[in-house]
Assembly symmetry: C2
């Protein structure tokens, strides 16, 4: 077992070919100290059992991905989304994840402002349940290239505005992912604003490849793209964030690699660019 590296967390999607038990064992052996889970990790093992294995391996559970997808044209669809998020909150509590990350959703063709209104309503219906469960909700602003169908919240500024509207600072905050936010000239100001409000709940790292060949599954390993990782981590720390830098890499090319080798590359890149 390598000694655990403080602040190094890995999201299980990064090593998607592995079942969650394998992720847990391999991460712990590789010196990873934190793990972010994905709801698909509970398809074979229940959330509580996964959480127990995480703790037994000495890993910290950083969060659960993902809730969200609140907007829908029909009220029934919005109701179903809220119910699914309540279940996700239960799963987060069961596995010991302190944070549920929200990919807020968007309806193709529906005005983004309308979707944001539905997102605010949906989250507000989850706040009480989240509070009771001891789970925080982290709004993750997504890159504008996902505005069509994945998130009407595409900037840190919009995420901050949404948090202000919701007014539940203990339960509702923000997950900052460098992939989604690095291009934004307002990033430093909005991270500082989020820090002042005590709502910086999570921080995700990867890199932006040039060229990027797929909108979903071509994220880069830290250091192989153009994102100023040290700069953005600096913004987070100046805003008071002390949590881990969670590696979250969706990559068809990386998932095709031998995952043991890939995980070694992830750890080495994290140490070099995020440590």
């Amino acid at each position: 077992m390598a000694e655990a590296i403080p602040g190094l967390a890995v999201h299980t999607i990064t090593t998607k070919p592995w079942p969650v038990e394998r992720c847990i064992d391999e991460y712990a052996a590789a010196g990873v100290s934190g793990i972010t889970l994905w709801r698909r990790d509970f398809e074979r093992l229940p959330a509580a059992a996964v959480g127990r294995r995480v703790r037994e391996a000495g890993l910290e559970c950083c969060g659960l991905a993902r809730g969200g997808f609140f907007p829908a044209v029909e009220a029934a669809g919005r109701r179903a989304a809220v119910e699914d998020n309540l279940r996700a909150i239960d799963e987060a509590a069961a596995c010991g994840a302190p944070v549920l990350v929200l990919v807020c959703g968007a309806v193709p063709g529906q005005p983004l402002a309308e979707s944001r209104k539905q997102i605010a309503e949906g989250i507000s219906e989850c706040v009480g349940h989240a509070r009771a469960a001891g789970v925080k909700l982290a709004i993750e602003p997504l890159h504008p290239m996902y505005a069509g169908d994945r998130s009407a919240v595409v900037t840190m500024g919009q995420a901050n505005d949404l948090c202000d509207v919701l007014g539940s600072p203990a339960e509702v905050g923000i997950a900052v992912d460098v992939y989604h936010t690095w291009w934004d000239a307002a990033l430093e100001v909005e991270i500082a604003r989020a820090g002042e409000a005590g709502r910086l709940f999570s921080y995700h790292v990867c890199d932006w490849r040039l060229p990027t060949e797929d909108l979903l599954n071509d994220r880069g390993l830290m250091g192989e793209g153009c994102i100023d990782l040290a700069g953005i981590r600096g913004m987070m720390e100046r805003a008071g964030f002390t949590g881990p830098s969670e590696v979250e890499i969706f990559s068809d090319r990386r998932w095709a690699q031998v995952q043991e080798v890939w995980l070694e590359e992830v750890v080495a890149a994290w140490v070099r660019h995020c440590g």
Copy 2:
């Protein structure tokens, strides 16, 4: 010959497989009233000859794409970029294009703020030449997914700021492309701001497909995506813009079609969604 439809312009990249002479003849026959040229159109025929053919066919030349790509790490690279833009201005004048569209550029890994400074410097070095040539320069804010290597200017707000800094309202304005800007919550405010300053020089239409399968060459035909074309055209008109809606569609799948059929689809979609 179909009667020319006022306000319907097509960018020659939309029918990329055709040489420019074919574009001119087919567009005129299909009822298109305006044409946007691309510098590659001058590879076989000089710009002046292309411009003559455009006028003889009864088409209006709306603009030339593209100048820009000002940032570079070395001063020599920035100098070369300015010189290339001066040539592009000459080509615009020679073909009778009133506007040269600028894709401003970015250097992978260089801070975007630094690239924007180099862009401002580069454009300022072109303003005198543009004025003398009677060619306007239109800054085209690109979608944030191109921030890595194509444009450090990724919002209408940044394009307006850049125009304010440059302070040459007669020569420097903005090209608004729905593909690049539709996601932006500040779009209406920033289009109004640009309109007040008299800097709305061009307007490009296409659509955002779901899913988008390629970052460069999978733009949609108007109506087959999620962009509110009527809404954005309304913003432009309320801001005083009266120019054409230029169709600019980069699409591998469309370029693989029989281009006569594709052009018919373009005209029909324009009439339905932009007319």
